[in-house]
Amino acid sequence: MDFDFNDEQRMLKDSVNQLIADRYTFEQRKSYMKDASGFSRDVWNQFAEMGLLGLPFDEKFGGVGYTDGGAVETMIVMEAFGRGLTLEPYLATVVLGGGLIHRGGNDAQREALLPKIADGSLMLAFAHEEAQSRYNLADVATTAKRDADGWLLTGEKNFVVHGNCADKIIVSARIAGDRASRDGIGLFLVDAKAPGVARKSYETQDGQRAAQIRLSGVKVSSNDAIGDPDKALPLIEKVTDTVLAAVAAEAVGAMSAAHEVTLDYLRTRKQFGVAIGSFQVLQHRAVDVLVSLEQARSMAYYATMMANDPDPAERSKAISAATVQIRRSGKFVGQQVVQLHGGIGMTLDYKIGHYFKRLTAMESLLGDTDYHLAALARAGGLIEASA
């Protein structure tokens, strides 16, 4: 057993934390938010220079070539991003989009796309969820119909994280089967500017960006199908599990930064002539937050460790278990850090409320708490019955 990072990982952690400290103060973040795209291109380019954008990819595709798809390294980076509440489309482009291409694409697609992701010149988004799907990854109503030399996509996608700025969009669509059947789902690479693609960009409650995307008979060439267009669901599940592991780390970063800010406040804010941190009830609350945060951190490690487990059933159970803990901790920590700040915790111009909002947004990302709890319970839980 070893919970320590190796030297290289420690260096990565230091340099990403340094980057966030330098480039992601609260004031800087506010200015990035004002950009039309909702993030900083500059910071994005810096991610590229540091090798963060190719982190999970093989060396021959412009990546770093870490073992295990860079799961630990991704965790390190995402935790730092959680601390900084970064706005860049890292999750959408690198972990999600890049993950789908890296794990599901053919060599031609990987050679064409991954190096561009790594050098910062290509942004991706994954258009999968639909209004009716309610977290069920198999629920896809968008259709792909055979066309002379490829496919025609029709349907509407929502909650496309960073769909606003993506150059290319990976769209899931059904080529066969009932609306929620596991077979018959394909993945297609669509140019965001292709005829028939209409996107409505919007801001999310936590200051990030997303889009609703309508596809009206969008033509896709056969070469742009990713993997077997009949059996993409296992790939989608595999990659969303790595995304959930990454989000777990991001949540831990947000929680621990929020906790630190709050401890500082408890030490410095005075009421009744003393620091409010001297009130026992607030001390206990701060401890409750710590307990909740550390439970979450442990489960983020677990998710990282299991994200690439070869057994899909074990992997999914572990990821759902971690997600339940992360969501519960995120909600508790988010609410409490606001409460402990009093009035200033409610103000838009102060950092703490933004952690709360980001943690809230994560609660419904790729399945809410109840969804993952039900999935875990259906799969028999983590401990086997034994009399």
Binding site: D139, T204, A210, F272, V281, G343, M346, G353
Partner: protein
Amino acid sequence: MDLRFTADEIQFRDEVRGFFRTALPASIRRKMELGQRLSKDDIVTWQRILNAKGWAVPSWPVEWGGTDWGPVKTYIFKEEMQQAPAPDPLSFNVSMVGPVLIAFGSEAQKKHFLPKLANLDIWFCQGFSEPGAGSDLASLRTAAKREGDHYIVNGQKIWTSRAHNADWMFCLVRTSSEGKPQQGISYLLIDVKTPGLTIRPIHTIDGEHHFNEVFFDNVRVPAENIVGEENKGWTYAKYLLGHERVGIARIGAAKHRIQRAKALAADVMIGDTPLSETTRFREKVASIEVELKALEITQMRVVANSVRLPKGAADPTSSILKLKGTELQQATTEILMEVAGANAMIREPDHLWGTATEPSIGPEWTTTTAADYFYMRAASIYGGSNEIQKNVIAKRILEL
């Protein structure tokens, strides 16, 4: 013992319910149902409709436009109003400064202000909190110095809700630094248009403009605008704490959210099953309903008991109403968040304000869910945080 309403009370409830059904303007009802933000106009319009009916200030004495309903009917009225759902009359006017003026104001102040407060011709805001004086309100430093027949006010207030809508502020100011901090505080009425008074917005985490900071730079306030005696302001402010406990738990509003959550969950499909029919959702909602029912009966116990208490005396049980009430308000916003799911995260402020010209991206009702959830976090902070409420209960009721 009988927990049911009498025939007379039921008749009253039906009358009130009927009135809300017909008198509440459709546009305001729609905003309330969707949880959209009300404009100043909406609030003024509604309060004037209530006032015309003689129902804007039911707890005030009849001579000042109130009613002789007594606690049970007043309670019924408030619950029905929240469930209608209709906006509350402006609490700063009706439940805060009004009762203080009635109890401690001069005849001239009562004559001048009370009718205008009831009709919302004058909108008051509450200037209590300061940057350094929140939970420890008595440490407030905004100073009022007497100069001839004026007070000269200097200092700063913060978190002043709707000061940007207000005409006047009731304000706690320091008039003496002698004795205990509580002893040097006065209760002053200030016209917010007085030169030297500046209001600056502070936006809340839901992105809205609810509250403000207010700066006083040599603001001249006529001495006649002091309420009661100099240095007695703390007593007047405290008077409110034991007052107006009826409806403070806002059970009607929580019930309304539960009603909505159940109805809306019927349209959210989890595979082939509506969310409203899943065991997990039902049990979660049911357990909130249990707590709400308990609090409702607690509220009614307090109401029934208040008939017997000497005037002005507070029922110790009443102090749990705000505590538990805010917890349940918050729990009901969380249930709606779950029903809305990822839709709640789409930010469309024009839908929140009811000014949208295009359809919303998700279902219309989900456009207000997150703002409601975010803002409701404040319910356990303002008006004495829940931690402070517990301190007070431990000290005063449990005598620990």
